[in-house]
């Protein structure tokens, strides 16, 4: 695999070696050091979040394990229970390292869940538009255009204003704010695919339209969907953090990264920077690493940029 990674041009010029599309994609993806690094960072973040209960010194939401005596300790201080708080503690004495890993669990869950649901809904609606054509397509695309003329953040804010706080409501608000991006992407790609020869061939064979759309066209729409999906998931995570920071997202009982940053904000002006800054850095690493991966995926999956 290493030689294909260093020189794909050479490997593709050798007819003896048969490469599956996935292998070629993988080789091209790992060609970029930045994207590989970003993917590694993101996977580490996910791993840390998943393993949080086993690798943190305390469960920050088990009141028995949190001591108010530990409140607002600077990074590196020793806690009441004797372990070192490498990232300091927050206003109520929670170890920030533990709080961040637990917060990441919530932030990632919300971001990924809303990303996947919005993808499925947007994909279905976009395909229906491309499949049905005519009036239905016109109506669907008009709604999509209309929604895309408002910033996603405003749509999400509107939804939380109407729905209130809570994990389910935030996911719902994010899905509402983002489905249109997927619908537009799928429909645009499907329109291009619809005119290709393989579709014509399938039509000649008498395959039903439904089957053509879902079995033949949809798999060919996956590339742009994956790209939009990564970028939109990053933006969902960032949007959830923003809403939670504003106090209209997740409640204190579901402390995502955004809630942690909001809690630290009041201490910032008195110079206790760590309570907001470290959760902020975690958010930043997550969002930027997903964006870098998405950016590179766009280059790799774009047939127009193929060498």
């Amino acid at each position: 695999m290493t030689d294909t990674a260093t020189d794909p041009a050479l490997s593709s010029s050798l007819p003896a070696k048969v490469e599956t599309p996935f292998q070629r994609f993988r080789a091209e993806f790992f060609e970029s050091r930045i994207a590989t690094g970003a993917l590694a960072v993101f996977l580490i973040i996910v791993l840390l979040a998943v393993l949080a209960p086993w690798i943190t010194p305390q469960n920050p939401y088990d009141l028995a394990q949190v001591s108010v005596m530990d409140g607002r300790l600077p990074p590196g201080s020793e806690s009441f229970d004797g372990y070192t708080m490498w990232l300091g503690s927050d206003g109520s004495g929670r170890d920030l390292y533990s709080a961040i890993l637990y917060g990441l669990r919530i932030s990632l869950t919300v971001g990924l869940a809303s990303g996947v649901i919005a993808l499925l809904i947007g994909m279905a609606i976009g395909l229906i538009a491309a499949y049905a054509g005519g009036r239905i397509e016109a109506i669907i695309m008009r709604i999509v255009d209309l929604q895309l003329s408002f910033p996603a953040s405003l749509v999400a804010l509107m939804m939380v204003a109407a729905l209130g706080k809570g994990v389910d409501k935030i996911i719902f608000a994010l899905v509402i704010a983002q489905w249109a991006y997927y619908a537009r992407t799928v429909r645009a790609t499907a329109m291009v695919e619809r005119g290709k020869e393989y579709v014509e061939a399938a039509q000649c064979l008498g395959i039903s339209r439904f089957r053509i759309v879902f079995r033949h066209i949809l798999p060919n729409c996956m590339a742009p969907l994956i790209v939009v999906g990564t970028v939109q998931t990053a933006s969902a995570i960032s949007l959830e953090a923003t809403l939670s920071f504003l106090g209209v997202g997740l409640p204190q009982t579901e402390p995502s990264i955004g809630v942690l940053i909001a809690n630290g904000f009041e201490y910032m002006l008195s110079g206790r920077y760590w309570i907001s800054v470290f959760p902020g850095l975690a958010l930043l690493l997550t969002v930027v690493s997903i964006n870098l991966v998405g950016d590179h995926l766009r280059d790799v999956l774009n047939p127009r940029l193929k060498k």
Binding site: S149, F150, L157, A161, T242, L246, G247, V277, G280
Partner: protein, 325 residues
């Protein structure tokens, strides 16, 4: 054209109406504002008096009907908290938001275009790569986090400018604004910069793309052949051509600046409409929430309409009728 505008305005009304339904019935599900308004030791009679004073004892459909009737006459209801008309409250907070969005727009143009010009002229220079990397960061960093960092750096550590509030207001030509006093300017600097970051990145990218495209065109080659100085070619000929699309797009971003100002205003305690909205959501002040969202939706629909009309004027190939209704 006229038919197009009328259709779009009707569509706008429909959107605002649907939005009002969602928000009006939505806010009625979450929380009961009465308990935020009466004192904790109020007895049942007091609470019921408050409920009937706010009109909350009526069936929801009747409440909505009364709201629609009022809205048609320009009355969006009274704020539960302040007791004033919601519309008046929002209009009262609007100048602060406009001033912030306007300053951010100016900052974006003043900072973004020169940087984009440089990156477009010397695409291989290290500085250009730095500028482009910074613009990618500008796109992907959450606004509120950058705002926190700005406060920490400039207000807490360096103590150059204050972190919160609007400062002294000055008056020029009958307009009250922070922009006319030194104290006000020092207050607006951080929030405006924070709000501008995304647009600075956008201006950099637009200008860079425009410059790179223009530098290879015939009129630039001709100007070179004519013996004009590089300076004159860039500042007069190239800039003139790329400024039109860049400034148009930036101007069109004004709406999203007002939308995004919700975040910036909350961080910097800037007394604008956005902060009013967040406070209203937190205090369950329904009429203000509904009124703000209706105004902002109307605002966006109008901006989009103006955009479409402008495009059709700038680019005759765009036919308005095609996008219809």
């Amino acid at each position: 054209m006229t038919v197009f505008i009328i259709r779009r305005l009707l569509q706008a009304l429909l959107v605002v109406f649907m939005m009002s339904v969602i928000v009006f019935f939505g806010v009625n599900i979450i929380g009961d504002p009465v308990y935020m308004l009466v004192s904790p030791d109020a007895d049942q009679a007091d609470i019921e008096a408050a409920i009937s004073r706010l009109g909350l004892d009526r069936p929801i459909l009747e409440q909505y009907w009364l709201f629609l009737k009022g809205a048609a006459q320009g009355d969006l209801g009274n704020s539960f908290i302040f007791g004033e008309p919601a519309l008046k409250l929002i209009l009262h907070h609007m100048p602060a938001t406009m001033e912030l969005a306007f300053s951010a727009l100016i900052l974006a143009i003043v900072i973004g275009i020169p940087l984009g010009l440089f990156a477009g002229l010397y695409p291989d220079s290290g500085i250009s790569k730095g500028i482009m990397a910074a613009s990618i960061l500008g796109f992907s960093l959450p606004t509120f986090w950058v705002g926190l960092m700005l406060i920490m750096l400039f207000a807490v550590e360096l103590r150059w400018v204050p972190a919160t509030g609007r400062g002294d207001l000055g008056t020029l030509l009958g307009i009250h604004s922070s922009l006319f006093t030194l104290d006000g300017l020092s207050h607006i600097f951080l929030p405006a910069l924070n709000l501008a970051l995304l647009k600075i990145s956008l201006a950099i990218r637009l200008t860079r793309a425009g410059v790179r495209e223009a530098m290879g065109l015939d009129y630039v080659k001709y100007a070179r052949a004519k013996g004009l100085s590089t300076r004159r070619i860039i500042l007069v000929h190239v800039m003139k051509n790329i400024m039109i699309p860049v400034v148009t797009v930036m101007g069109l971003e004004f709406g999203s600046l007002i939308g995004f100002s919700v975040v910036t205003e909350t961080i910097f305690a800037w007394p604008g409409m956005g902060k009013l909205l967040i406070d209203a959501i937190l205090q369950l002040d329904r009429p203000v929430v509904v009124a703000y969202l209706m105004i902002i939706v109307l605002f966006f629909v109008l901006i989009n309409l103006i955009v479409d009309i402008l495009y059709s004027i700038l680019d005759p190939r765009v036919r308005l009728q095609d996008q219809g209704a």
